[in-house]
């Protein structure tokens, strides 16, 4: 068949496809699109085989690409099953990242313990980590006289603080993850500095005997926040490790594989930090609740988070 005849034969179908692609919203008939797509693939193969001219092949190619992108959008739109994610996918991802979690944990806790011990025993030490105004800020917001704990201005509402924690904490976690692409070094730095700041502040406030405001404040949301930061570190280290030690595949394939595997960790981190921000804004800051009660709830939250984090092994197929 000559090209002219071929074009005349399929003209009508192509016109239909083009108008469907121009108004994708109206082209909701997936079965018809799929049928068109198959015919188009066949025509493209024929046009190439018969060496019809390049412009025709290009038009057929672009039409097929358009339909392909339209058809496979349905896969892209597949709803996340949130329940299955929380029940299985996230714990399983945590289990598979266990070695990276261990490294991230050490990278954060070790500098924290060292800095904390130092600031606890040495009154001047805190000034090597934070400057004077930051220290005064910390001392002010955990002052046992404050009505709302953990806030600069008591007028700041819980909702404002919720937004503040969402923006701040999730950004830190995202940066901690992204730093992994720099062979894991960026991630390790974020973990190291966060550990050091938190440790030295805890040590200093303990020295000042602000124990009854600081610890009841941090224990509740800390269960989610600290764990999530360690998880984001683990996801970052997973990327870095994929580049450093690609095993049998190329560095690029290894990185792509890691890029796929960390996705459930990223979803989970966002969920955990949203819970943490909620707790920190609406629960932790309250100074009217009895301290023993806040400690108990905090302890329960820690136990729940830890139990959850260790629940992934049974989903691993053997």
């Amino acid at each position: 068949m000559k090209q002219h005849e071929f074009e005349a034969l399929h003209q009508e179908l192509w016109r239909q496809i083009d108008s469907a692609l121009e108004n994708p919203a109206r082209a909701d008939n997936t079965a018809l699109l799929a049928e068109h797509y198959l015919s188009l693939c066949r025509q493209l193969a024929i046009a190439k085989e018969r060496m019809y001219d390049a412009a025709l092949v290009e038009r057929l190619n672009n039409r097929s690409l358009g339909l392909y992108r339209e058809l496979y959008r349905y896969r892209a739109e597949t709803r996340l099953n949130f329940y299955a994610f929380l029940r299985r996918d996230f714990p399983l991802a945590i289990f598979r990242h266990r070695f990276f979690i261990l490294i991230a944990l050490v990278a954060m806790i070790l500098p924290g313990l060292v800095a904390g011990t130092w600031t606890y025993f040495d009154d001047e030490a805190i000034y090597s980590v934070l400057d004077g105004s930051q220290v005064r800020h910390m001392e002010r917001i955990y002052d046992p006289e404050a009505r709302k704990i953990g806030r600069e201005r008591e007028a700041d509402t819980d909702l404002f603080m919720f937004g503040f924690y969402i923006k701040n904490n999730i950004s830190v976690a995202f940066r901690c993850f992204a730093g992994g692409l720099l062979l894991g070094i960026g991630t390790l730095l974020v973990l190291f500095f966060n550990g050091m700041f938190m440790g030295s502040i805890a040590g200093h406030l303990t020295r000042l005997d602000f124990v009854d405001t600081f610890y009841p404040f941090v224990i509740g949301h800390g269960a989610f926040e600290l764990t999530a930061i360690v998880f984001s570190g683990a996801a970052g280290l997973r990327l870095g490790y994929a580049i450093i030690n690609p095993g049998h595949s190329s560095r690029l394939d290894s990185l792509r594989q890691a890029g796929r595997e960390v996705v459930p960790m990223l979803y989970g981190i966002v969920v955990m930090l949203t819970i943490a921000a909620f707790l920190e804004a609406f629960w932790s800051s309250s100074s009217s609740l009895p301290i023993a009660f806040k400690y108990s709830v905090g302890a329960i939250l820690w136990i729940l988070v830890l139990l959850y984090s260790f629940s992934g092994r049974r989903h691993e197929s053997r």
């Binding site: 090209q3 392909y68 007028a155 995202f174 692409l181 720099l182 996705v263």
Partner: protein, 228 residues
Amino acid sequence: MLDTAYRVEIPGGIHLEAQVVGPIPRIFAFTIDLVIRGIILAALSIASIPLGLDGVGGGFFLILLFVIEWLYPVLFELLARGQTPGKKLLGIAVVNDDLSPVTLGSSLVRNLLRTVDFLPFFYLAGVVTMLSNRHFQRLGDLAAGTLVISIAKSAQAASLEDVPPLAPVTQLSRSEQTAIVEFLQRSAHLSQPRQQELATILEGITHQAGEDGVERLRRHGAWYLGMR
């Protein structure tokens, strides 16, 4: 050779081809998006003043600031077929490396890793990476397995009604026939002297040179197309 064609075998048993897009259009698209983000932020900050900046309004503003900073590209790539408004204006789109629409996971990974592409300043790492691999992928694209392709519309076929077909005297191979058909299709985009120059090379087939050679070649093209 610099070849921007990206070929992939897709379900349907055929090879599809797309043109990957280099740094320049992507920087334009990013700049347009930056302006749009700025406008949205300005509008939102004004809208949240009546709600109280240290109360509901402030909290609301900070959450939206977070969403616009980190998730603006993710939302558009998912909901608008791989196109942020900037990409739509430039006629480019993000796709997975099998040319299928980008998924939530890959979009999230490529956009969170933007932070590293930005280092040490103004996307230097991203641009250097883009220029050092075949498909113009920045670091985030490499990790997420995504690329940016052009989805510009293909040119319409030229109208050939006024060319009376004429059978050539010489027997030609398939690829030679295709070359003559393509000469006909593209002649609208070629200057007269260039057409004559090309047609003169084929004097052995058309037995005409210059202006008449061009006419002959076009008529042979129409004949090979199957016009009667």
